[in-house]
Subunit: 188 residues, 2 copies
Amino acid sequence: MSGSGKPDTLAEAQDRFIAVWGQMGGAWGITRTMAEVHALLYVTGGPLCTDDVMDRLQISRGNASTSLRALLDWGVVSRTHKRGDRKEYFVAEQDVWTMFRAIVRERIKREVDPLLASMHEIRELTEPARRAAGLAAEERALVEAHNERLDQLLEFLTTVERLGHRFVSPAGRGLQAAATLLASKVAG
Amino acid sequence: MSGSGKPDTLAEAQDRFIAVWGQMGGAWGITRTMAEVHALLYVTGGPLCTDDVMDRLQISRGNASTSLRALLDWGVVSRTHKRGDRKEYFVAEQDVWTMFRAIVRERIKREVDPLLASMHEIRELTEPARRAAGLAAEERALVEAHNERLDQLLEFLTTVERLGHRFVSPAGRGLQAAATLLASKVAG
DNA sequence: CATTCATTTCTGAATCTTCTGAAACCAATG
DNA sequence: CATTGGTTTCAGAAGATTCAGAAATGAATG
């Protein structure tokens, strides 16, 4: 053990947090490294520059730059500067709910919205067929069943999308409070 | 174009749905094929056997078997049999909310719970240090700040976990209704 | 209890993703 | 306007995933 021993405990806790958070990132569709960079920024709390990230995480400059940029795009990290220093520094959003809101906003934009668009397109494909004359009753029933399934899914996705927007909007804090209440032990 | 033209429209709509759903699966931590198999079962609605899946999706027997098995584990697909037929057939859960509940249940179990466990462990690492004597004020402050960050995250994750359980439980239908209402245009 | 039909497991090959290191780029500063 | 310090992009290498096909296993039937 080096030094007084205690400072190392903090570093170890940080490292383990980074590892765990990175692991989870993988299971959620973002790269492990990106999640690790985010974890590092969050858990240290302080503004870090590209070289800090490279050193601590043992990753290349290119990788660090790309990850940092992606985190900026997601809106969970922002740039800062220090007086008399040309380097850019990065800070992670420190409020968990704000961070989560940013993530939800992006995932809706990137995944739910395009999915909804495609689904509407696909749903339209069978709309003409539904009305077409000269179709065996059996075939017509098949198309109807298909349409109902897609409609059900569309309705669900629309609900998710609306709920997401509610949560993300300025009024989202109300929803957050509601969620906390709903999840609390006492309620219900 | 073969046949009357219209039946192909249905097949095409199915194929496109399968493609889109599979794509999305990739972004959510399950394999594309698994999502495609699920999409196929959902969109056709009918019981399909391993060979049906292989033929329609052009995948190997091993791959089909593995994917089907995984879907069973997730609880979004179930087995059936046909009289006088030794083959197993598979059907997808047809109710979207039930399906979604199954997914939420599994993801909590597989990702949130282990994450919470690790987080608690990590949080404990710095608890002794916090109380330890002979620590510079500055270092103590560092540890305190670290602990507060972790506590905030832990509280958030616990809320998510509780909310998830609520949603999944028998009483979850109430939450579903609440979600629908919250997401509706008129409310608020 | 042997045979047949169906399902699962396994392994190497192919594919896709992620990472590195270097070169190109950009912007302050003297 | 050259130089220095910093950031981004890119092509190829390394690594991880996913898949097909075969071999192994398991279960129903006569």
